[in-house]
Symmetry: none
Subunit: 131 residues, 4 copies
DNA sequence: GTGGTCTAGACCACC
DNA sequence: GTGGTCTAGACCACA
Protein backbone atom coordinates (compact mmCIF):
# COMPACT_ATOMS: atom_id res chain seq x y z
CA UNK A 1 0.00 0.00 0.00
CA UNK A 2 1.20 3.42 -0.96
CA UNK A 3 0.05 6.13 1.42
CA UNK A 4 1.45 9.62 1.44
CA UNK A 5 1.04 12.01 4.34
CA UNK A 6 1.09 15.73 3.67
CA UNK A 7 2.20 17.31 6.90
CA UNK A 8 1.52 20.77 5.50
CA UNK A 9 -2.14 19.98 5.03
CA UNK A 10 -4.69 21.14 7.59
CA UNK A 11 -6.46 17.83 7.06
CA UNK A 12 -5.71 15.58 10.05
CA UNK A 13 -3.30 12.75 9.37
CA UNK A 14 -5.78 10.04 10.30
CA UNK A 15 -8.23 11.60 7.83
CA UNK A 16 -5.64 11.57 5.05
CA UNK A 17 -5.15 7.87 5.68
CA UNK A 18 -8.90 7.30 5.53
CA UNK A 19 -9.15 9.31 2.31
CA UNK A 20 -6.48 7.32 0.59
CA UNK A 21 -7.73 3.91 1.63
CA UNK A 22 -11.25 4.80 0.51
CA UNK A 23 -9.78 6.09 -2.73
CA UNK A 24 -7.84 2.89 -3.35
CA UNK A 25 -10.98 0.88 -2.78
CA UNK A 26 -13.05 3.11 -5.06
CA UNK A 27 -10.36 2.80 -7.73
CA UNK A 28 -10.41 -0.96 -7.47
CA UNK A 29 -6.83 -1.14 -6.24
CA UNK A 30 -8.05 -2.64 -3.02
CA UNK A 31 -10.78 -5.26 -3.19
CA UNK A 32 -13.14 -6.85 -0.72
CA UNK A 33 -11.31 -9.27 1.62
CA UNK A 34 -7.88 -7.82 0.83
CA UNK A 35 -5.71 -7.54 3.91
CA UNK A 36 -4.61 -4.10 5.01
CA UNK A 37 -1.20 -3.55 6.56
CA UNK A 38 -1.18 -4.05 10.31
CA UNK A 39 -1.42 -1.00 12.51
CA UNK A 40 2.18 -1.40 13.61
CA UNK A 41 3.48 -1.96 10.08
CA UNK A 42 1.80 1.12 8.72
CA UNK A 43 2.85 3.15 11.75
CA UNK A 44 6.46 2.16 11.16
CA UNK A 45 6.25 2.80 7.43
CA UNK A 46 4.73 6.27 7.81
CA UNK A 47 6.73 7.08 10.96
CA UNK A 48 3.57 7.73 12.94
CA UNK A 49 2.21 6.70 16.28
CA UNK A 50 0.24 3.43 16.06
CA UNK A 51 -2.69 5.17 17.75
CA UNK A 52 -3.03 7.46 14.77
CA UNK A 53 -3.34 4.51 12.38
CA UNK A 54 -5.65 2.83 14.84
CA UNK A 55 -7.92 5.85 14.79
CA UNK A 56 -8.11 5.78 11.01
CA UNK A 57 -8.91 2.06 10.99
CA UNK A 58 -11.52 2.47 13.72
CA UNK A 59 -13.25 5.16 11.71
CA UNK A 60 -13.14 3.06 8.56
CA UNK A 61 -14.61 0.15 10.46
CA UNK A 62 -17.39 2.30 11.83
CA UNK A 63 -18.21 3.39 8.31
CA UNK A 64 -18.45 -0.25 7.31
CA UNK A 65 -15.56 0.05 4.91
CA UNK A 66 -13.16 -2.33 6.56
CA UNK A 67 -13.45 -5.10 9.10
CA UNK A 68 -10.90 -5.38 11.87
CA UNK A 69 -10.46 -8.30 14.20
CA UNK A 70 -8.07 -8.31 17.12
CA UNK A 71 -5.56 -11.03 16.48
CA UNK A 72 -6.40 -11.26 12.80
CA UNK A 73 -5.84 -7.86 11.27
CA UNK A 74 -7.89 -5.54 9.11
CA UNK A 75 -9.64 -6.51 5.88
CA UNK A 76 -11.54 -4.62 3.19
CA UNK A 77 -15.29 -5.19 3.55
CA UNK A 78 -17.91 -5.56 0.86
CA UNK A 79 -19.29 -2.25 -0.34
CA UNK A 80 -22.52 -1.41 1.45
CA UNK A 81 -24.31 1.47 3.01
CA UNK A 82 -26.59 1.47 6.00
CA UNK A 83 -27.77 4.97 5.24
CA UNK A 84 -31.17 5.57 3.78
CA UNK A 85 -31.09 6.85 0.22
CA UNK A 86 -32.45 10.27 1.14
CA UNK A 87 -29.66 10.78 3.67
CA UNK A 88 -27.09 9.75 1.09
CA UNK A 89 -28.53 12.20 -1.41
CA UNK A 90 -28.49 15.00 1.13
CA UNK A 91 -24.89 14.36 2.11
CA UNK A 92 -23.65 14.15 -1.45
CA UNK A 93 -25.59 17.16 -2.69
CA UNK A 94 -24.17 19.30 0.09
CA UNK A 95 -20.72 18.30 -1.05
CA UNK A 96 -21.61 18.98 -4.68
CA UNK A 97 -22.82 22.46 -3.79
CA UNK A 98 -19.60 23.31 -2.01
CA UNK A 99 -17.71 22.13 -5.05
CA UNK A 100 -19.77 24.13 -7.50
CA UNK A 101 -19.65 27.29 -5.37
CA UNK A 102 -15.89 26.96 -5.25
CA UNK A 103 -15.74 26.59 -9.01
CA UNK A 104 -17.84 29.68 -9.57
CA UNK A 105 -15.56 31.71 -7.33
CA UNK A 106 -12.55 30.39 -9.18
CA UNK A 107 -14.18 31.53 -12.42
CA UNK A 108 -14.24 28.10 -13.91
CA UNK A 109 -17.09 27.86 -16.41
CA UNK A 110 -19.72 25.15 -16.19
CA UNK A 111 -18.51 23.21 -19.20
CA UNK A 112 -14.94 22.96 -17.93
CA UNK A 113 -16.10 21.85 -14.50
CA UNK A 114 -18.34 19.25 -16.09
CA UNK A 115 -15.43 17.90 -18.10
CA UNK A 116 -13.20 17.66 -15.04
CA UNK A 117 -16.00 15.95 -13.20
CA UNK A 118 -16.55 13.39 -15.94
CA UNK A 119 -12.84 12.84 -16.35
CA UNK A 120 -12.43 12.12 -12.67
CA UNK A 121 -15.53 9.99 -12.34
CA UNK A 122 -14.39 7.77 -15.20
CA UNK A 123 -11.44 6.53 -13.16
CA UNK A 124 -13.59 5.00 -10.43
CA UNK A 125 -15.49 1.76 -10.08
CA UNK A 126 -19.09 2.70 -9.44
CA UNK A 127 -21.73 0.27 -8.37
CA UNK A 128 -23.90 -0.58 -11.34
CA UNK A 129 -27.13 1.28 -11.69
CA UNK A 130 -30.15 -0.73 -10.51
CA UNK A 131 -32.53 0.42 -13.18
CA UNK B 1 -29.02 38.32 4.30
CA UNK B 2 -30.32 34.97 5.44
CA UNK B 3 -27.72 32.86 7.16
CA UNK B 4 -28.56 29.68 9.02
CA UNK B 5 -26.20 28.02 11.43
CA UNK B 6 -26.50 24.28 11.80
CA UNK B 7 -25.28 23.49 15.27
CA UNK B 8 -25.42 19.81 14.53
CA UNK B 9 -22.85 20.16 11.79
CA UNK B 10 -19.21 19.40 12.51
CA UNK B 11 -18.32 22.28 10.19
CA UNK B 12 -17.05 25.22 12.24
CA UNK B 13 -19.49 28.08 12.55
CA UNK B 14 -17.18 30.64 10.95
CA UNK B 15 -16.83 28.25 8.00
CA UNK B 16 -20.59 27.90 7.65
CA UNK B 17 -20.84 31.66 7.41
CA UNK B 18 -18.16 31.72 4.73
CA UNK B 19 -19.91 28.90 2.87
CA UNK B 20 -23.22 30.70 2.79
CA UNK B 21 -21.90 34.06 1.75
CA UNK B 22 -19.94 32.45 -1.06
CA UNK B 23 -23.06 30.49 -1.98
CA UNK B 24 -25.22 33.61 -2.11
CA UNK B 25 -22.68 35.27 -4.36
CA UNK B 26 -22.47 32.22 -6.62
CA UNK B 27 -26.26 32.10 -6.82
CA UNK B 28 -26.41 35.75 -7.78
CA UNK B 29 -28.29 36.75 -4.64
CA UNK B 30 -25.37 38.92 -3.63
CA UNK B 31 -23.68 41.03 -6.29
CA UNK B 32 -20.43 42.96 -6.55
CA UNK B 33 -20.49 46.14 -4.43
CA UNK B 34 -23.43 44.94 -2.29
CA UNK B 35 -22.98 45.86 1.35
CA UNK B 36 -22.73 43.07 3.90
CA UNK B 37 -24.14 43.43 7.42
CA UNK B 38 -21.68 44.70 9.99
CA UNK B 39 -19.96 42.27 12.28
CA UNK B 40 -22.06 43.44 15.20
CA UNK B 41 -25.32 43.25 13.30
CA UNK B 42 -24.67 39.72 12.12
CA UNK B 43 -23.43 38.65 15.56
CA UNK B 44 -26.62 39.96 17.13
CA UNK B 45 -28.81 38.39 14.46
CA UNK B 46 -27.23 34.95 14.74
CA UNK B 47 -26.62 35.15 18.48
CA UNK B 48 -22.92 34.46 18.07
CA UNK B 49 -19.69 35.79 19.41
CA UNK B 50 -18.58 38.75 17.22
CA UNK B 51 -15.13 37.19 17.03
CA UNK B 52 -16.65 34.33 15.07
CA UNK B 53 -18.11 36.68 12.47
CA UNK B 54 -14.84 38.62 12.34
CA UNK B 55 -12.96 35.48 11.58
CA UNK B 56 -15.29 34.65 8.71
CA UNK B 57 -15.00 38.16 7.21
CA UNK B 58 -11.24 38.17 7.61
CA UNK B 59 -11.04 34.88 5.75
CA UNK B 60 -13.36 36.11 2.99
CA UNK B 61 -11.26 39.24 2.57
CA UNK B 62 -8.09 37.18 2.38
CA UNK B 63 -9.67 35.10 -0.36
CA UNK B 64 -10.50 38.28 -2.29
CA UNK B 65 -14.24 37.65 -2.03
CA UNK B 66 -15.13 40.72 -0.03
CA UNK B 67 -13.49 44.06 0.61
CA UNK B 68 -13.69 45.69 4.01
CA UNK B 69 -13.20 49.42 4.21
CA UNK B 70 -12.44 50.34 7.81
CA UNK B 71 -15.24 52.44 9.19
CA UNK B 72 -17.38 51.89 6.11
CA UNK B 73 -18.26 48.21 6.32
CA UNK B 74 -17.76 45.22 4.09
CA UNK B 75 -18.65 44.93 0.41
CA UNK B 76 -18.82 42.11 -2.09
CA UNK B 77 -15.84 42.23 -4.45
CA UNK B 78 -15.74 41.48 -8.17
CA UNK B 79 -15.25 37.81 -8.96
CA UNK B 80 -11.60 37.15 -9.62
CA UNK B 81 -8.94 34.62 -8.91
CA UNK B 82 -5.22 35.14 -8.48
CA UNK B 83 -4.58 31.47 -8.83
CA UNK B 84 -3.14 30.02 -11.99
CA UNK B 85 -5.45 27.79 -13.94
CA UNK B 86 -3.40 24.69 -13.17
CA UNK B 87 -3.63 25.35 -9.42
CA UNK B 88 -7.37 25.88 -9.69
CA UNK B 89 -7.70 22.62 -11.59
CA UNK B 90 -5.68 20.78 -9.01
CA UNK B 91 -7.72 22.14 -6.10
CA UNK B 92 -11.07 21.43 -7.72
CA UNK B 93 -10.11 17.99 -8.94
CA UNK B 94 -9.05 17.00 -5.44
CA UNK B 95 -12.47 18.03 -4.23
CA UNK B 96 -14.14 16.19 -7.10
CA UNK B 97 -12.22 13.05 -6.22
CA UNK B 98 -13.32 13.16 -2.61
CA UNK B 99 -16.89 13.56 -3.79
CA UNK B 100 -16.72 10.69 -6.26
CA UNK B 101 -15.00 8.38 -3.77
CA UNK B 102 -17.75 9.13 -1.29
CA UNK B 103 -20.41 8.38 -3.88
CA UNK B 104 -18.82 5.05 -4.78
CA UNK B 105 -18.76 4.02 -1.12
CA UNK B 106 -22.39 5.06 -0.76
CA UNK B 107 -23.20 2.83 -3.72
CA UNK B 108 -24.57 5.63 -5.80
CA UNK B 109 -24.14 4.80 -9.45
CA UNK B 110 -22.37 7.15 -11.87
CA UNK B 111 -25.51 8.19 -13.69
CA UNK B 112 -27.35 9.21 -10.55
CA UNK B 113 -24.37 11.17 -9.30
CA UNK B 114 -24.09 12.89 -12.67
CA UNK B 115 -27.75 13.87 -12.50
CA UNK B 116 -27.38 15.29 -9.01
CA UNK B 117 -24.30 17.15 -10.13
CA UNK B 118 -26.01 18.67 -13.17
CA UNK B 119 -29.10 19.54 -11.17
CA UNK B 120 -27.03 21.39 -8.61
CA UNK B 121 -24.76 23.12 -11.10
CA UNK B 122 -27.76 24.49 -12.99
CA UNK B 123 -28.70 26.66 -10.03
CA UNK B 124 -25.49 28.68 -10.05
CA UNK B 125 -24.21 31.60 -12.09
CA UNK B 126 -21.02 30.44 -13.71
CA UNK B 127 -18.59 32.76 -15.42
CA UNK B 128 -19.02 32.42 -19.18
CA UNK B 129 -16.57 30.26 -20.97
CA UNK B 130 -13.74 32.25 -22.56
CA UNK B 131 -13.38 30.14 -25.64
CA UNK C 1 -25.20 14.14 35.75
CA UNK C 2 -24.81 10.95 37.70
CA UNK C 3 -22.54 8.43 36.06
CA UNK C 4 -21.19 5.37 37.80
CA UNK C 5 -18.25 3.39 36.53
CA UNK C 6 -18.01 -0.28 37.40
CA UNK C 7 -14.33 -1.13 37.23
CA UNK C 8 -15.10 -4.80 37.72
CA UNK C 9 -17.14 -4.90 34.53
CA UNK C 10 -15.58 -6.20 31.33
CA UNK C 11 -17.48 -3.47 29.50
CA UNK C 12 -15.01 -0.74 28.56
CA UNK C 13 -15.28 2.43 30.60
CA UNK C 14 -16.04 4.61 27.60
CA UNK C 15 -18.86 2.23 26.70
CA UNK C 16 -20.32 2.44 30.19
CA UNK C 17 -20.39 6.21 29.84
CA UNK C 18 -22.13 5.91 26.48
CA UNK C 19 -24.65 3.46 27.92
CA UNK C 20 -25.58 5.74 30.77
CA UNK C 21 -25.89 8.88 28.72
CA UNK C 22 -28.08 7.10 26.19
CA UNK C 23 -30.12 5.72 29.07
CA UNK C 24 -30.61 9.15 30.61
CA UNK C 25 -31.78 10.48 27.27
CA UNK C 26 -34.13 7.55 26.73
CA UNK C 27 -35.53 8.05 30.23
CA UNK C 28 -36.14 11.71 29.55
CA UNK C 29 -33.69 12.85 32.21
CA UNK C 30 -31.62 14.49 29.50
CA UNK C 31 -33.43 16.37 26.78
CA UNK C 32 -32.49 17.75 23.39
CA UNK C 33 -30.22 20.82 23.67
CA UNK C 34 -29.26 20.06 27.28
CA UNK C 35 -25.60 20.70 27.93
CA UNK C 36 -23.43 17.78 28.93
CA UNK C 37 -20.57 18.21 31.39
CA UNK C 38 -17.32 19.22 29.72
CA UNK C 39 -14.78 16.54 28.99
CA UNK C 40 -12.48 17.87 31.66
CA UNK C 41 -15.23 18.21 34.26
CA UNK C 42 -16.43 14.67 33.78
CA UNK C 43 -12.86 13.37 33.71
CA UNK C 44 -12.19 15.06 37.04
CA UNK C 45 -15.47 13.86 38.54
CA UNK C 46 -14.95 10.23 37.53
CA UNK C 47 -11.17 10.33 38.07
CA UNK C 48 -10.50 9.28 34.50
CA UNK C 49 -8.29 10.45 31.70
CA UNK C 50 -9.97 13.14 29.57
CA UNK C 51 -9.24 11.05 26.48
CA UNK C 52 -11.53 8.34 27.78
CA UNK C 53 -14.43 10.78 28.11
CA UNK C 54 -13.51 12.23 24.76
CA UNK C 55 -13.79 8.83 23.18
CA UNK C 56 -17.26 8.32 24.62
CA UNK C 57 -18.41 11.73 23.39
CA UNK C 58 -16.91 11.15 19.95
CA UNK C 59 -18.80 7.89 19.65
CA UNK C 60 -22.03 9.51 20.80
CA UNK C 61 -21.54 12.27 18.27
CA UNK C 62 -20.94 9.76 15.50
CA UNK C 63 -24.17 8.03 16.43
CA UNK C 64 -25.96 11.36 16.14
CA UNK C 65 -26.90 11.35 19.80
CA UNK C 66 -25.00 14.43 20.89
CA UNK C 67 -23.47 17.40 19.17
CA UNK C 68 -20.05 18.63 20.22
CA UNK C 69 -18.47 21.90 19.21
CA UNK C 70 -14.90 22.82 20.09
CA UNK C 71 -15.08 25.90 22.20
CA UNK C 72 -18.74 25.41 23.02
CA UNK C 73 -19.11 22.02 24.65
CA UNK C 74 -21.37 19.05 24.06
CA UNK C 75 -25.15 19.12 23.73
CA UNK C 76 -27.88 16.51 23.46
CA UNK C 77 -29.15 16.28 19.87
CA UNK C 78 -32.67 15.67 18.63
CA UNK C 79 -33.57 12.00 18.39
CA UNK C 80 -33.06 10.74 14.86
CA UNK C 81 -31.75 7.77 12.99
CA UNK C 82 -29.96 7.71 9.69
CA UNK C 83 -30.34 3.96 9.45
CA UNK C 84 -32.85 2.43 7.12
CA UNK C 85 -35.71 0.72 8.89
CA UNK C 86 -34.68 -2.75 7.77
CA UNK C 87 -31.23 -2.28 9.26
CA UNK C 88 -32.75 -1.08 12.50
CA UNK C 89 -35.00 -4.12 12.63
CA UNK C 90 -32.12 -6.45 11.96
CA UNK C 91 -29.97 -4.91 14.68
CA UNK C 92 -32.69 -4.94 17.30
CA UNK C 93 -33.91 -8.45 16.50
CA UNK C 94 -30.40 -9.81 16.88
CA UNK C 95 -30.27 -8.24 20.31
CA UNK C 96 -33.72 -9.61 21.15
CA UNK C 97 -32.62 -13.10 20.19
CA UNK C 98 -29.58 -12.95 22.43
CA UNK C 99 -31.82 -11.83 25.25
CA UNK C 100 -34.38 -14.58 24.74
CA UNK C 101 -31.73 -17.29 24.38
CA UNK C 102 -30.21 -16.12 27.63
CA UNK C 103 -33.60 -16.26 29.34
CA UNK C 104 -34.24 -19.80 28.13
CA UNK C 105 -30.89 -20.94 29.49
CA UNK C 106 -31.65 -19.25 32.79
CA UNK C 107 -34.93 -21.20 32.87
CA UNK C 108 -37.04 -18.09 32.97
CA UNK C 109 -40.44 -18.84 31.47
CA UNK C 110 -41.86 -16.77 28.64
CA UNK C 111 -44.51 -15.06 30.73
CA UNK C 112 -42.03 -13.84 33.34
CA UNK C 113 -39.67 -12.55 30.70
CA UNK C 114 -42.54 -10.75 29.00
CA UNK C 115 -43.49 -9.09 32.27
CA UNK C 116 -39.93 -7.94 32.91
CA UNK C 117 -39.77 -6.65 29.39
CA UNK C 118 -42.99 -4.68 29.71
CA UNK C 119 -42.01 -3.36 33.12
CA UNK C 120 -38.71 -2.07 31.81
CA UNK C 121 -40.11 -0.65 28.59
CA UNK C 122 -42.69 1.33 30.53
CA UNK C 123 -39.98 3.46 32.11
CA UNK C 124 -38.71 4.84 28.81
CA UNK C 125 -39.87 7.59 26.51
CA UNK C 126 -40.52 5.99 23.17
CA UNK C 127 -41.14 7.91 20.01
CA UNK C 128 -44.84 7.86 19.25
CA UNK C 129 -46.04 5.31 16.79
CA UNK C 130 -46.65 6.77 13.32
CA UNK C 131 -49.70 4.72 12.49
CA UNK D 1 -24.28 -28.59 13.44
CA UNK D 2 -24.52 -25.52 11.31
CA UNK D 3 -22.44 -22.63 12.63
CA UNK D 4 -21.82 -19.50 10.64
CA UNK D 5 -19.10 -17.01 11.48
CA UNK D 6 -19.73 -13.42 10.53
CA UNK D 7 -16.33 -11.89 10.04
CA UNK D 8 -17.85 -8.45 9.71
CA UNK D 9 -19.22 -8.62 13.23
CA UNK D 10 -17.32 -6.98 16.06
CA UNK D 11 -18.41 -9.89 18.25
CA UNK D 12 -15.44 -12.17 18.90
CA UNK D 13 -15.49 -15.43 17.00
CA UNK D 14 -15.46 -17.62 20.10
CA UNK D 15 -18.47 -15.65 21.33
CA UNK D 16 -20.32 -16.19 18.08
CA UNK D 17 -19.81 -19.93 18.49
CA UNK D 18 -21.15 -19.79 22.03
CA UNK D 19 -24.12 -17.71 20.87
CA UNK D 20 -25.08 -20.18 18.20
CA UNK D 21 -24.74 -23.30 20.30
CA UNK D 22 -26.85 -21.71 23.02
CA UNK D 23 -29.32 -20.65 20.35
CA UNK D 24 -29.58 -24.15 18.90
CA UNK D 25 -30.23 -25.51 22.37
CA UNK D 26 -32.85 -22.84 23.09
CA UNK D 27 -34.53 -23.61 19.77
CA UNK D 28 -34.63 -27.30 20.55
CA UNK D 29 -32.32 -28.23 17.69
CA UNK D 30 -29.81 -29.53 20.19
CA UNK D 31 -31.04 -31.57 23.13
CA UNK D 32 -29.58 -32.75 26.40
CA UNK D 33 -27.01 -35.54 25.90
CA UNK D 34 -26.53 -34.73 22.20
CA UNK D 35 -22.90 -34.99 21.18
CA UNK D 36 -21.15 -31.87 19.92
CA UNK D 37 -18.49 -32.01 17.21
CA UNK D 38 -14.95 -32.33 18.49
CA UNK D 39 -12.77 -29.27 18.71
CA UNK D 40 -10.72 -30.45 15.76
CA UNK D 41 -13.74 -31.26 13.62
CA UNK D 42 -15.30 -27.87 14.21
CA UNK D 43 -11.99 -26.08 13.70
CA UNK D 44 -11.55 -27.82 10.37
CA UNK D 45 -15.14 -27.18 9.32
CA UNK D 46 -15.03 -23.46 10.14
CA UNK D 47 -11.40 -23.01 9.11
CA UNK D 48 -10.48 -21.58 12.49
CA UNK D 49 -7.72 -21.96 15.00
CA UNK D 50 -8.60 -24.89 17.34
CA UNK D 51 -7.76 -22.63 20.29
CA UNK D 52 -10.74 -20.48 19.36
CA UNK D 53 -13.11 -23.46 19.48
CA UNK D 54 -11.52 -24.60 22.73
CA UNK D 55 -12.15 -21.26 24.29
CA UNK D 56 -15.81 -21.40 23.31
CA UNK D 57 -16.27 -24.92 24.70
CA UNK D 58 -14.44 -24.04 27.91
CA UNK D 59 -16.75 -21.08 28.43
CA UNK D 60 -19.85 -23.21 27.69
CA UNK D 61 -18.70 -25.81 30.19
CA UNK D 62 -18.11 -23.16 32.81
CA UNK D 63 -21.63 -21.90 32.27
CA UNK D 64 -22.97 -25.41 32.78
CA UNK D 65 -24.33 -25.63 29.27
CA UNK D 66 -22.22 -28.50 28.05
CA UNK D 67 -20.25 -31.25 29.72
CA UNK D 68 -16.95 -32.39 28.31
CA UNK D 69 -15.76 -35.86 29.18
CA UNK D 70 -12.04 -36.06 28.46
CA UNK D 71 -11.46 -38.53 25.66
CA UNK D 72 -15.17 -38.89 24.99
CA UNK D 73 -16.12 -35.52 23.61
CA UNK D 74 -18.57 -32.79 24.60
CA UNK D 75 -22.27 -33.27 25.30
CA UNK D 76 -25.18 -30.94 25.83
CA UNK D 77 -26.08 -30.74 29.52
CA UNK D 78 -29.53 -30.54 31.08
CA UNK D 79 -30.86 -27.01 31.31
CA UNK D 80 -30.14 -25.64 34.77
CA UNK D 81 -29.06 -22.51 36.48
CA UNK D 82 -27.12 -22.13 39.72
CA UNK D 83 -27.99 -18.49 39.90
CA UNK D 84 -30.55 -17.21 42.35
CA UNK D 85 -33.68 -15.85 40.79
CA UNK D 86 -32.87 -12.30 41.84
CA UNK D 87 -29.48 -12.46 40.16
CA UNK D 88 -31.05 -13.83 37.01
CA UNK D 89 -33.60 -11.04 37.07
CA UNK D 90 -30.91 -8.43 37.48
CA UNK D 91 -28.82 -9.80 34.62
CA UNK D 92 -31.74 -10.07 32.23
CA UNK D 93 -33.20 -6.70 33.12
CA UNK D 94 -29.87 -5.03 32.43
CA UNK D 95 -29.90 -6.61 28.99
CA UNK D 96 -33.53 -5.61 28.48
CA UNK D 97 -32.66 -2.03 29.37
CA UNK D 98 -29.86 -1.87 26.84
CA UNK D 99 -32.25 -3.21 24.23
CA UNK D 100 -34.99 -0.74 25.04
CA UNK D 101 -32.60 2.21 25.17
CA UNK D 102 -31.31 1.23 21.77
CA UNK D 103 -34.83 1.02 20.41
CA UNK D 104 -35.74 4.45 21.74
CA UNK D 105 -32.69 5.97 20.08
CA UNK D 106 -33.56 4.22 16.83
CA UNK D 107 -37.02 5.78 17.07
CA UNK D 108 -38.80 2.47 17.13
CA UNK D 109 -42.09 2.86 18.96
CA UNK D 110 -43.02 0.64 21.89
CA UNK D 111 -45.66 -1.34 20.02
CA UNK D 112 -43.34 -2.27 17.18
CA UNK D 113 -40.63 -3.33 19.58
CA UNK D 114 -43.17 -5.39 21.52
CA UNK D 115 -44.23 -7.14 18.34
CA UNK D 116 -40.67 -7.94 17.35
CA UNK D 117 -40.05 -9.22 20.86
CA UNK D 118 -43.10 -11.49 20.84
CA UNK D 119 -42.33 -12.71 17.34
CA UNK D 120 -38.83 -13.68 18.36
CA UNK D 121 -39.78 -15.21 21.69
CA UNK D 122 -42.33 -17.48 20.01
CA UNK D 123 -39.58 -19.37 18.20
CA UNK D 124 -37.89 -20.59 21.36
CA UNK D 125 -38.55 -23.43 23.78
CA UNK D 126 -39.00 -21.85 27.16
CA UNK D 127 -39.06 -23.81 30.37
CA UNK D 128 -42.66 -24.08 31.56
CA UNK D 129 -43.77 -21.70 34.22
CA UNK D 130 -43.64 -23.23 37.73
CA UNK D 131 -46.66 -21.48 39.08
C1' DG E 1 1.45 -11.09 16.87
C1' DT E 2 -3.11 -8.76 16.16
C1' DG E 3 -6.03 -4.72 17.42
C1' DG E 4 -8.45 -2.37 21.65
C1' DT E 5 -8.32 0.23 25.93
C1' DC E 6 -6.52 3.45 28.97
C1' DT E 7 -3.28 6.87 30.81
C1' DA E 8 -0.34 11.05 30.49
C1' DG E 9 0.80 15.03 28.46
C1' DA E 10 1.71 18.42 24.42
C1' DC E 11 -0.21 21.45 20.95
C1' DC E 12 -3.88 23.49 18.11
C1' DA E 13 -8.45 25.19 16.30
C1' DC E 14 -12.65 27.13 17.75
C1' DC E 15 -15.59 30.30 20.29
C1' DG F 1 -12.24 28.15 28.18
C1' DT F 2 -13.93 24.32 24.85
C1' DG F 3 -13.04 19.82 22.24
C1' DG F 4 -9.70 17.62 18.60
C1' DT F 5 -5.24 15.74 17.25
C1' DC F 6 -1.09 13.46 17.98
C1' DT F 7 2.58 11.15 20.59
C1' DA F 8 4.36 7.72 23.94
C1' DG F 9 3.90 3.85 26.35
C1' DA F 10 1.46 0.19 29.39
C1' DC F 11 -1.70 -3.64 29.60
C1' DC F 12 -5.23 -6.84 27.88
C1' DA F 13 -8.31 -9.77 24.86
C1' DC F 14 -8.35 -12.29 20.62
C1' DA F 15 -6.62 -15.72 17.23
Amino acid sequence: MQIKIDNASTRPIYQQIIDQIKRDIALGRLKAADKLPTVRQLAAQLVLNPNTISKAYRQLEQDGIIVTRPGAGAYVAELSSNLSKSVRKKLLCEQIELLVVEAVHMQIDARTLGEWFDGTAKKFKFTDSEE
